[in-house]
Amino acid sequence: MGKQDTLRIDGRDVAIDAERNLLELVRKAGIELPTFCYHSDLSIYGACRLCLVDIEGRGIQSACSTPPEPGMRLRTNTGELREIRRTTLELLLANHDGSCPTCIKSADCKLQALARRMGVDKVRFKAPTRPAPLDESSPALVRDPNKCVLCGDCVRVCNEIQGVGAIDFAYRGSQAAVVPAFGKQLGDVECVNCGQCAAFCPTGALAPRSETAAIWQALDDPRKKVVAQIAPAVRVALGEAFDQPAASQTTGRIVAALKAIGFDAVYDTSFTADLTVIEEGTEFLQRKVNGGILPQFTSCCPAWVKYAEQYYPDLLPNLSTCKSPQQMFGSLARQVLPRILDTAPEDLVVVSIMPCTAKKYEAQRSEFSQDGRRDVDAVMTTQELARMIQEAGLDFSSLEPESLDMPFGFHTGAGVIFGNSGGVSEAVLRFAVEKITGKPAGQVDFHEVRGEGGLREASLTVDGTEVRIAIVHGLANAKLVADQVRAGTAPYDLIEVMTCPGGCISGAGQPVAHNGHTRQDRARSLYEADKSLPLHRSQDNPFIDRCYQEHLGAVGGTVAHRLLHTHYHGRKRLESEALPLSEGNGDGKIQVKVCAGTACFLRGSQKLLHALLGYVEEHSLQNMVDVRANFCSEQCAAGPTVIIGDKVLQHCTLERVRDVLDAELANHQ
């Protein structure tokens, strides 16, 4: 082996291994260069100018964007560099709404921490711009443009990792801003609520929406019975907020804390995860055996479900019809708990504690309400829980652990590993292998589906039946697989999709990760939790059996279907006006809206529109018909869609449109 290449950082030799840039090397050398816009999972951006170093012969350069070269000599801490960094921070602060005491990010804010670290004690510049309004339209996030430092991390996550591109840069110079399309609100665009933008945001410009006020209110109301469900990933991360070793097991203390805060019962979402395994596994085996639609996509991640509804309406039949564990819990709770807790149904308040911001959105979906009442009343994130515990003044680390309440507190290891990417697949395999072979399988660990890659494949042969699985996290990866499915080239039976990197353990509601191995720690911790539990297969959960017997009937049966399954539909990406295509205003005319959304566009709606406009002109109907192109009528799988008056026509042809239009015209006269 040849001599190892080195370069010199502040007078010390540092070996170059596989580092991609000087920043990684500087950090390896134990020097914490400040950064806003560098993230190892994202492309290099080079905008914040905080990571500047002085390279001999080349001058001042950004470390994050410069590849290491043997023999380079660089300095990271000259007076000149410190001066530039301080000026940079001062410039940022001049334009910043520095309301730290009330800022949700206060404890974890990089800007605040850096300003302190760099000794910025005064801002000599004036605030040149007027404050912009808060965007509180999203069910998942709050956007405060006045705290944005334009590092672009959110834009790159949303584009590069999620493939959504719901937010992007707009305008330029000092007007530059990160905004949703056309300056709309986040709730009106194609954002899937995954919250990863907020997880990457170094400041309080993008933050999970808090629902704790409503929860406190319910807790304060003596008539209400307030119950909580805790998602698997919460227990391996909450401790981080209390300086416990990352990912330490905290379930018992969470229960104690929640009880102390005033919750009447505390259950585990892992229980309904076990239930999901049974229902989804059964659905999968039925599809596999009966030649149903395959591959089957998992449906427990609401961000992925919304993504599929927006971009792959044609693949919705491939999604498992199972509700997510959160929503299964919600319907089951409404069905069962009033009796168990001896309360009026309207006084039962169901709260979930989730690592996730998309779950806040999911709980609001109209599919998950009965008679105007949401199955899950409020969703709080791990972060919110931590704040609630702090607000209640509890010393978390000294709480005496308590046990979960039965029956929905009982869970197997299969329900716990749901929080990891690959966990759902593994849990389903633990179920399916037994079903296929007909005998309890000895094997519980399927290392084939574990790992960190964003797109992994596994194939297992069980009694001659081959099961091919793809496991993806990040929606950009999901897109790759979904495109294959659409093209008919995907060689898979089951596809697990998790939106967040590594799965729910990295959900946007988790405490802000303070080091590079937080994700790995949490993942390991979940697998350890599985190990430490007595049972590892969902089908072995005795309370699940009882639940079917007492409440649900047969697996996949009618009652189970009503309570545990759901349906999907095409969804528009953007709230947008329709584009008028005929002259004059439309008052009193027959309204014809031809869908020009992607799905319909691909099915030829443009030609239809062309022909229709020709027809209108030819028959001089301009004064009677108002033609518009609209963007998605949420019937995407049945496009092209045309709306005439109040009639929605699917699979439209010119003939149909003409017939209906003529009939309407006849009516009109």
């Binding site: 056309f182 990406r573 329709a578 295509l581 566009f601 192109a629 963007f631």
Partner: protein
């Protein structure tokens, strides 16, 4: 860029033109800028719905289209007046006192930095950097036609002439 007087196009003509533009560029996202340029030539500005349609047709996020449309000063997201008065504020024109001309134009038309177009949609006043006629600074361009060696007085009478021509045309139509 020369704006000649043409018959007003119908909305459906315009829409058909947009479809043709997108097809002509092979629905390639890389052609976004020329597509937007052509679309703007059709509509004189970029209506939001049309941008949304372009995004759909090119299969790119609307936020990216919006980002591009707001980056380049060529693109306008608001309709412009019938007469676009562009005052050069390039270096040569600036040192020859272009700003008093701008002030005269604005105060004559009751416009400002924020409000660039008159409510009757007749005039838009904006600044540009160098029209390539620096030797004759300061310079004003009205709908593609360059007027050189400007003064505030000349600029005002230019506006007056256009207003009178407009009034005469309206009177002609009515009479």
């Amino acid at each position: 860029m020369q704006m000649t007087h043409v018959e007003p196009r119908t909305r459906s003509d315009q829409f058909e033109a947009v479809c043709a533009i997108i097809e002509r560029h092979g629905r390639q996202p890389a052609k976004l800028i020329p597509i937007l340029q052509a679309v703007q030539d059709e509509y004189t500005y970029l209506p939001e719905e049309v941008l949304n349609f372009v995004a759909t047709a090119l299969a790119i996020p609307p936020a990216r289209v919006f980002g591009v449309a707001t980056f380049y000063t060529y693109f306008a997201l608001e309709p412009k007046g019938k007469y676009v008065v562009r005052l050069c504020d390039g270096t040569a024109c600036h040192v020859k006192d272009s700003i008093p001309i701008l002030e005269a134009l604005r105060s004559r038309l009751n416009l400002s930095e924020e409000h660039k177009t008159t409510p009757d949609m007749l005039f838009t006043v904006e600044t540009v950097a160098c029209l390539g006629a620096c030797g004759l600074a300061p310079v004003v361009m009205v709908n593609g036609e360059v007027h050189s060696l400007m003064t505030p007085e000349k600029a005002e009478s230019l506006i007056e002439d256009l207003k009178q021509a407009e009034a005469a045309a309206v009177a002609g139509e009515e009479g």
